[in-house]
Symmetry: C5
Subunit: 319 residues, 5 copies
Amino acid sequence: MLSILALPRPGEPSSEVKPDELPALLQSAGAVAWVRCLAPTDPDLSWLQGTFGFHPLTIEDCRQRNQRPKFEPYDGYAFIVLFALSWAGDALETTEIHCFLTPHCLITVEDRDSPAVAAVWQRMHQAPDLMQRGADFVLYAVADAVVDTFFELVDSFEESIDDIEERIFAPQAESVQPLIFRRRNLLIAIRRAIGPMRDVFNAILNRHLPLIRDPHLLYFRDLYDHTVLIYELLEAERERLSNALEVHLSHISNTLNQVMKRLTAIATIFMPLTFLSGLFGMNFEHLPFQSLWAMVIALLSMVIIPGAMLLWMWRARWF
Amino acid sequence: MLSILALPRPGEPSSEVKPDELPALLQSAGAVAWVRCLAPTDPDLSWLQGTFGFHPLTIEDCRQRNQRPKFEPYDGYAFIVLFALSWAGDALETTEIHCFLTPHCLITVEDRDSPAVAAVWQRMHQAPDLMQRGADFVLYAVADAVVDTFFELVDSFEESIDDIEERIFAPQAESVQPLIFRRRNLLIAIRRAIGPMRDVFNAILNRHLPLIRDPHLLYFRDLYDHTVLIYELLEAERERLSNALEVHLSHISNTLNQVMKRLTAIATIFMPLTFLSGLFGMNFEHLPFQSLWAMVIALLSMVIIPGAMLLWMWRARWF
Amino acid sequence: MLSILALPRPGEPSSEVKPDELPALLQSAGAVAWVRCLAPTDPDLSWLQGTFGFHPLTIEDCRQRNQRPKFEPYDGYAFIVLFALSWAGDALETTEIHCFLTPHCLITVEDRDSPAVAAVWQRMHQAPDLMQRGADFVLYAVADAVVDTFFELVDSFEESIDDIEERIFAPQAESVQPLIFRRRNLLIAIRRAIGPMRDVFNAILNRHLPLIRDPHLLYFRDLYDHTVLIYELLEAERERLSNALEVHLSHISNTLNQVMKRLTAIATIFMPLTFLSGLFGMNFEHLPFQSLWAMVIALLSMVIIPGAMLLWMWRARWF
Amino acid sequence: MLSILALPRPGEPSSEVKPDELPALLQSAGAVAWVRCLAPTDPDLSWLQGTFGFHPLTIEDCRQRNQRPKFEPYDGYAFIVLFALSWAGDALETTEIHCFLTPHCLITVEDRDSPAVAAVWQRMHQAPDLMQRGADFVLYAVADAVVDTFFELVDSFEESIDDIEERIFAPQAESVQPLIFRRRNLLIAIRRAIGPMRDVFNAILNRHLPLIRDPHLLYFRDLYDHTVLIYELLEAERERLSNALEVHLSHISNTLNQVMKRLTAIATIFMPLTFLSGLFGMNFEHLPFQSLWAMVIALLSMVIIPGAMLLWMWRARWF
Amino acid sequence: MLSILALPRPGEPSSEVKPDELPALLQSAGAVAWVRCLAPTDPDLSWLQGTFGFHPLTIEDCRQRNQRPKFEPYDGYAFIVLFALSWAGDALETTEIHCFLTPHCLITVEDRDSPAVAAVWQRMHQAPDLMQRGADFVLYAVADAVVDTFFELVDSFEESIDDIEERIFAPQAESVQPLIFRRRNLLIAIRRAIGPMRDVFNAILNRHLPLIRDPHLLYFRDLYDHTVLIYELLEAERERLSNALEVHLSHISNTLNQVMKRLTAIATIFMPLTFLSGLFGMNFEHLPFQSLWAMVIALLSMVIIPGAMLLWMWRARWF
């Protein structure tokens, strides 16, 4: 589905136009247009290739998806793939946003309606002064909205890690492991998206393409800073999770150690007692069962032996 | 075994030719040929060296195999080694594809029939317009088919890791370890192939050899992107597996902890009981065996002591 | 809240001036001013933007905070973000110090009163010869005070790690784990601040901006050295903590091993004894309960069997 | 001990000459010589320094040994240290081969007779056409033989790791640990040799010394490729060993878990039974020992209780 | 304390001079001096700053110590910080050696008498031909002695690790952990010193300062090689220690596993036996205590049951 927002001339209001009106409109100096292509069909992609002459490889990328964020300069245009992430329940949903930047026109191809881009689309309808700054500034606005989706992710991430950290040393800590497991897998997925995004903005900064005018480079430097910050935040979260898991493993071992010491203490105290009582439970007639003294000695030894052992364990800091 | 597919002149159909016809054919401007050498014999390699004058070191490489993916420019030609991977049962099978690229001819030397290259060979028979684009484009077609074999591997890999992840927290998780072990070894093997492949395409992009014409460089940039993507996917899989193993180890420790707590609880409850019953099983005649009160106290203590201990354990959150 | 310290002319004393006096004052050659803006309000930021013409993105950064340490050259000025860390109880408190360096004026924007910067502010009041060296030297003085806060942190860190290390091999080592856990998280946080700080000073050294005069570059090189030293100290502390945790885990396992060996030894000795006493506690009438020899043999075996086992265990180095 | 193999003029046979004949011989254009110095004595080294004017530092290196593989260009000659490894029983033996390359002469100083170099020395006697290609080609032949010693090591290494991997999941896996331990230490030692060797060949490729003629650079590129391949193979082996050790540790924990579950099950079943039998072994006269019903109930409970527990354990998937 | 060794003119003997004689002496061409300042006092440092005009930051560094090894070129001189390490009992002692290199004079500032530097100081008194080679050669001699202290450390280190490795698989291995712990911490400390030292010599090699004459650069390249070698040795030791700790942890787990299997076997054999003996120790009158057959069956089952279990365990490779 193709929607086109066009600003025919600086100072005029922007409005949606039909695809066949676009070529004429782009002739006039100062015209800026944004072609938004949602869930592209084959005719949509053919129209793009026919109208703008994009390289078959880039059109193929739009069709196949499953790219990685990248920046590729071509003759007369640039091809940029951005990833917007969002929560779908407890899983991550990745929306690939394929952008073509030409001198007067930005084309975005999304496989699914991304709320982040939709919000920019609305804002552009209401603020023609933004669009007037050029197609590269529209690209910046889209990319800024996409990068902001990562900040939201990282925030919710930090909260869930805070939650995990509070539960590590709890007595019933077993439910922490699936949580750590899932968080780490999510981190791997987010990092795989933000790392190449950072490279995209770095490439934009260093290539000095005429497509992106110098005063707007500062805005892309700002985006680059944001992606670096997100990457560093994710690295820090990753280290916190590893820290949590390692210390947790050591904590479990420690608890196990305590439990075993207790079991050993119990066995150490009761096994001799049980043996003693069994000894005097034997039916040999020659055992001194009639003697009061023997009984007193037997019973006393059942008090003194465990008492001595408890004292010794306490001294040996067994507990 | 040598097979040669030649396109004598642009616009004409391609056809298989005999080795001795090749030199004459390559004289004509616009001619393109692909020499495919399967399971090369010594005469085959001598013919190659005699006809094209390749450096003895490269011919030696074709003979010995066990190279790594590499790109080596020589005077007038380039030597490229690619690795195609495929499953042979549960193990990986590596097929080395040694390519010589001359201005008008691509020579591929395979130690074993690779299905990926065979499919390109079929396609070239039917589509002379592809071959017409030059020997460098034929190289691209071969390399593209080889890189695609990695995507299939990675896909089947992801599925098997999904399967492992579902079983980590299962009660009978012991069968997970050999699976993780084998997957990690496979990952090491695949990474050893794709890492140098990425370097090969990067070298092709940066050397600006006249052998590869500028419009075709974009296609190799696409291949480079694919290898980078595969490498990143493998890295992510590797981290997922490490994550799974580490959390699994911590989960086992936790389970062990639970089991030991249970054992300790059982011993703590029954050891005093057994001792008490043994105490009154002693045969001393002075023990108050006739007294009903003594018996009631003994039996009551056998109810109260474990009851109190259970209460205490429950309060101490032992279970 | 805006405070302005100005030195109208070299050799004169410095004094606080009102915001509306600043533009005129900065006209005179040799004037140096430091605008300190604490907990900036919107009017403060508007005044900054109006008076100095700073880029909207940098003003936006001052409003939003949550940046990372960075250095950004703009036309005619540089924007520098520094992080000062301090302890707030047991947690770290980060104060972001946003600095604008113009040829004759330093503007610092702090969200909260940083003791480090406040001390420099006091010093500048009393030592006009420092301020006379230029706005870049004032920036150095501020940055030096900020970097010194890290040295204090690292010192207190080293002490707490020394303390942890002493307790690793103690019998009651369980309290070490939460300590290691918290220290490692703090390290992650400090490293996230000092790493980009180092990059900031490195960028200042390598950009050769006219804003920072050559003789003062040596001072920034000194700061760069300090940040490198802090980073290396933190790395060393991180490795010490990892070392402590890994060895601690191995130590716990070892202790557990000892405990289990002891339990096994006890069970090995008393289980056969208890069985023997139970055997002769059976009530079968055909058992030789009247025989003195049988009793002596039974009792002797209860001495010899555990004695032999103890000897064997001692030989097998079980203890 | 000095041996000198000299080729006085291209086309003539090579022959061994005396040290004092060498200077005159090297005057003639096209002469090539290889001075092999085994277990160098002080007079040998003095003669080298006097005849060729080598820098005292390099002579000192030959005397002291314990260098690392390195490449150092000097005025008029290059100093190259290579490491040849071989098995001496179960340990690695390192032979340092110090090479001086001058325009017409290669000097190799070995502390002990290396079989790899000795084989090249034999080959050079029989094939004067090899020596005729120059001193740099003789260096290549030596280096090639040295690099081949690593391939043999890696091959035997792979076999021993295959062997280890097969034993990880065996029930009696305890003997695997010393094997893994020794393999990893060997890997560290081999990597310490091959890493700098790779740098040596890389330096030779990039320095473009006139000592090594351009057509021979391809041969050194081949050696560089070999060292890279060996390094990658070693990395892969290292990862396989780490994989084996980590999974093995997790497997041991798992086995321990199973053993403990079994022990807990046994204790859970027999402890109540033993208590029950002890209960009715008490000698209280008021216990219903005459009642047949009491006995039947007691005996039945000794069947039903463990039966119920087994059922419950089986349902809880305890086994 | 200042001591000055001066060589007024090449060929003359060197002698100690007073501080106030130094300026005049340094006027003459070819003069070389070494100012050694031990445990510097404030007047010493002021004299240095006054006489040579060193930058206040470098004087401040000499006063504060706690630097890291570094190389800083200034106008007309270079400032170099080296670290000499030595054993003080079981701990490391770091001596910072701050060096100023001017064209004709080397100034070394040590906080404590370093034996390494003291030995060079003695040698310079006796060998004026060494000093005659210039102040940069004196710096080399000092640095060489300092670097040699690391070789001694590494040697003693290797021995202690050999010792640890021998004890890993010993039955009483618990004492290994504190040793590994301390060695690893020492390694961290040594690496923190040698890493920046390596960078110092690398910087000297690459800066091409006129202060260090070209023929002497080779000597500094040799020092650089030594620091690289030490760094690699330390890396290898670190990996060996990690290897030892990891395998040791796995070995402990394995031993624990064996111990638990033994305990389980003992419990499995004796618990049913104890139960059986208890069963026939019950006092029910209806039990067949008079029957010889019952007794024989009971006693036989006490032989057959454990016999069968032992057989089964042996078959299941439990031992």
